[in-house]
């Protein structure tokens, strides 16, 4: 479904990614794990069109996304939940969700999708007229995911959804991600919360210093001793 081939990229002259290839199958949950600064955010931003790759290609359902503007990538069904949530803090919860449904195809189904998002996150219906900036971190993450769902994604890119959240909230968020996946949406999740991410995903890639150093079934990587030493401190 998503094929990312040989991506290199970075900022200025600082190279963050070297020849990174990742693919996500239809209905799959795939995770990209690695330490801070490994290039994970750069990678998803490139897929979403928010950042340009130096070389390599991004293909989604046979369509080349590499040179598309972010709005076009979103219309193709690849939608990002950015790192740090990046909500429109001055807008209400409902307005944030409406921005998610901005493009015409999503706007046509706005009411149905809104109802669906509120059934996933009932708290958002309660908070609908509050400024997004006044919500708790967990609620903000729910708005961020809800906003992305309003765009009716076929592939959801989640950039560090657990960042800054209490463990019990992280569990809720991950449970919701699993439920969203069960409705048929493919997921690519970038995490430094390695154990949780590996438990959620079916396949995983490990990114270090801009390179994929391991990939395989998430359950196998979870058992892998060298990985356990490096990431879980066991």
């Amino acid at each position: 479904m998503l094929e990312v081939e040989g991506i290199s990229g970075g900022y200025g002259s600082a190279q963050a990614l070297r020849d990174v290839s990742v693919d996500v199958g239809d209905g799959e949950i795939v995770t990209l794990v690695g330490p801070t600064g490994a290039g994970k955010s750069t990678f998803v931003n490139i897929i979403a069109g928010l950042h340009r790759a130096w070389s390599g290609s991004v293909t989604f359902d046979g369509q080349d996304l590499t040179a598309l503007r972010p709005a076009r990538v979103c219309q193709q069904g690849v939608v990002i939940v950015p790192e740090g949530r990046r909500l429109f803090a001055d807008l209400t919860v409902t307005d944030n969700l409406d921005i998610g449904a901005y493009h015409p195809a999503a706007r046509a189904h706005r009411d149905d999708t809104y109802e669906w998002v509120c059934s996933i996150f009932p708290i958002l219906a309660e908070r609908r007229n509050q400024r997004a900036g006044n919500l708790s971190g967990g609620e903000q993450q729910m708005v961020a995911i809800g906003r992305a769902l309003m765009a009716r994604p076929r592939l959801l890119l989640l950039d560090e959804p657990s960042l800054g959240l209490a463990p019990v909230i992280v569990e809720t968020i991950f449970e919701v991600i699993r439920n969203i996946n069960e409705t048929g949406t493919s997921i690519l999740i970038v995490e430094q919360n390695v154990v949780e991410a590996l438990e959620l995903a079916s396949r995983a890639y490990v990114l270090e210093d801009g390179r994929i150093v391991r990939h395989g079934d998430a359950s196998e990587l979870l058992e892998d001793e060298s990985l356990q030493k490096a990431y879980f401190g066991m």
């Binding site: 972010p70 429109f88 901005y102 706007r107």
Partner: protein
């Protein structure tokens, strides 16, 4: 004395409406697009001269000029914003560049209409001296019309920004342009439309000015000291705030004029502005906590 004071308050209130129409365009583009577009002053003046010309040449009621001035203002604002987008100017570069355009447009106006005072003939302008009394207080009709337009613009703009998809897009761009783009908002198109709308408001102010005032190319210089206090007091990008601030400045300057003489009007206006900058720099009408 109290009659004079009442008159000053009512006249100040009404002219405050005109101040609001003059200020709302600058406030919107400054607040939402981070462009300080001084050319709005030129477009107010151009709107006034266009009204004078249309009304005089065609011998028609000056308010008919709105039919031309509003779309022309929209177009001018849209073109200016396209220029700003193409040249990628920042807030302070826009101030310098648009100041240059003020000087150029003023020269153009002086070339076309000369430096002589221009005034729409009373035969075709029924509004100039039209007024009625409420008790002992005279209501000047041209100012009342401007006040009505100010209320319409303030409420209309505020509804547009809070309710419509366009308004949500504007506010999303103000918060985080990159993510707004990622969800399909064409930030350039939204900016061009908003700038067009803002400039149409400014040009509209010119129409009302032409209905009761003599025009000369230099009158726009005197507006800086009114419009900037109104924009800052009202809060950037806040149309209803601009109306409130226009009324405060209008009434304060009017009352100061009758109490301490016309020269004190600016003094009082700027004292209010300084006090506001000290105690409420985000504007009098902006909710605490929002930008």
């Amino acid at each position: 004395m109290s009659d004079v004071l009442n008159q000053a308050i009512v006249s100040g209130l009404l002219i405050g409406g005109l101040y609001a129409v003059m200020s709302v365009g600058i406030s919107l583009t400054w607040g939402a697009l981070r462009i300080i577009n001084l050319a709005h002053f030129s477009f107010i003046l151009l709107g006034a001269y266009a009204t004078y010309q249309i009304s005089t040449s065609l011998e028609i009621d000056p308010l008919f000029a709105l039919l031309v001035v509003i779309p022309a203002g929209f177009l001018a604002g849209a073109i200016m914003q396209i220029f700003f987008e193409l040249t990628k100017v920042d807030e302070f570069q826009s101030l310098i560049i648009s100041f240059g355009s003020v000087i150029i447009l003023q020269s153009i106006i002086r070339t076309i209409w000369t430096a002589d005072f221009r005034r729409i003939d009373r035969d075709i302008n029924p509004y100039e001296s039209m007024s009625f009394f409420v008790g002992d207080v005279a209501i000047q009709v041209p100012l009342l019309l401007a006040f009505g337009a100010a209320v319409g613009i303030a409420l209309g703009t505020s509804l547009l920004l809070s309710r419509s998809y366009f308004g949500k897009a504007v506010r999303a761009i103000v918060d985080d342009p990159q993510i707004a783009r990622a969800y399909g908002i064409d930030n350039r198109r939204v900016a061009v439309v908003l700038s067009g709308l803002a400039t149409a408001f400014s040009a509209t102010a010119g129409v009302f000015i032409a209905t009761f005032q003599s025009l000369s190319p230099s009158i726009s210089l005197g507006w800086f000291g009114i419009v900037f206090p109104v924009v800052i007091l009202g809060g950037l990008g806040n149309a209803v705030g601009a109306l409130g601030a226009g009324v405060i400045v209008g009434v304060a300057a009017g009352v100061a004029s009758v109490q301490w003489g016309p020269l004190s009007a600016s003094l009082v206006t700027f004292l209010i502005l300084i006090a506001a900058l000290l105690f409420r720099p985000q504007g009098l009408f902006t909710r605490q906590g929002s930008s």
